[in-house]
Symmetry: C2
């Protein structure tokens, strides 16, 4: 389903981060793209774009995508643009909108997953906000994760299947699968306690990551592992047994 454009994805090279949501869609669709900041001199090119020395509108932050003469920042906006072109946004305007809506709800969950370890400021180290992170994490584990994943479990009940929208895989499915993996990396005990309540979300994730179009990427070195610089971080003290 990939079209003729050779895409350029710009994202920080050392973490999966928000760039990974775009990467999953591009990889699943077999779309040709360059992961610019992981190429020689790529970071310089990315930073020049962030300084406003490139295309318009200038991006606020990575990830951003260059598609021919269009540049788009914001993960969900990139996916809203790419999804229909890659065949990963369902059929028709209403399904495109539903896919996008789910992506934005996933984005809210992802933002909260980051703020667990940085509740005071992104510019501070985790070590400078540990007591606050511990308080935040308890609410995230006990209230927020169950609310978000319980919501998606309900959506899949409504759908009577393993896809959030329509009858086929969308980028929202890929994003939810990746988010569950990230949460399990960060908070394995909390997610293990929740597993019995989210069988449909787990089935979606299993199906998405087993796709013949995606599994080779996931086993490749292009797939960056979760780590302690990213959105999803494992601090044992935030995830008691």
């Amino acid at each position: 389903m990939a079209d003729e454009i050779h895409y350029e994805l710009y994202y920080w090279p050392g973490i999966p981060g928000r760039g990974e949501y775009v990467r999953l869609a591009l990889e699943d669709a077999g779309a040709p793209y360059t992961d610019v900041a992981r190429e020689p001199n790529g970071m310089k090119r990315m930073q020049a774009m962030l300084r406003g020395e490139g295309a318009r509108p200038r991006p606020f932050a990575p990830p951003f995508l260059v598609a021919g003469d269009v540049v788009i920042a914001q993960t969900a906006a990139i996916l809203a643009w790419l999804g229909p072109k890659l065949g990963l946004a369902g059929a028709g305007a209403a399904e495109h909108a539903a896919t996008h809506q789910h992506q934005l709800t996933i984005a809210d969950l992802v933002a909260e997953a980051h703020d667990v370890h940085h509740p005071i400021a992104s510019s501070l180290y985790y070590d400078d906000q540990k007591p606050e992170a511990a308080r935040n994490a308890k609410h995230f584990r006990d209230e927020r994760i169950p609310k978000f994943l319980g919501y998606f479990e309900h959506v899949l009940e409504d759908q009577a299947g393993v896809h959030l929208v329509g009858a086929k895989t969308t980028y929202a499915d890929l994003s939810l699968a990746h988010t569950l993996a990230g949460l399990r990396f960060a908070l394995p005990n909390a997610i293990a306690r929740l597993d019995a309540k989210i069988p449909r979300v787990r089935a979606l994730a299993q199906e998405a990551f087993a796709r013949p179009t995606l599994a080779p990427y996931l086993a490749s070195p292009r797939r960056l592992p979760f780590n302690q610089q990213g959105i999803f971080r494992h601090y044992p003290e935030l995830d008691p047994p």
Copy 2:
């Protein structure tokens, strides 16, 4: 530019909140809509939808919009749907995408403006997280607001005008104007210190709120005032002189 559909907007009735971003676009375009939860029995209807007793996909949270047989949640997704129909998203796919991208960056700023007074958990009172809020607020005032508003100032420099996208007003302009008003309500001292650095953002806001299509709404009782239950809250201790 309004089309034939009579829209239904669902949002908490007591605060401007995220619903206001949708309201501004509907009002500016003169689109016919019902603000459901502010009508008799409207809260019951909204809560039934949130329990999954209505259209699909069930919404995660307000605001959500019913447009004929389509229901869309997530503020930015609603505006991405409405914007082109209301003539408030620029011309063509690239401008639609740019408008949407800016809306998502505004949404990130709005989320941070909320987390200033709720850095630990939305489910707790402000009084239960005051020391953490004070720490968060310093970073928000000194780093984050200047970064976000400075970015939009650069975009307007690039544009050489008072519109974030193209040559006409888009919903992103309305959203930025409202966000500046919200920040000024919440943190008047911090914004006053920044005013000299954001002349273009201020000019955009002034132009947007003076629109003959919008000013009557802003002066009407339909426009809810900012208050201490919303996203933008004024706690003097978070905004030192």
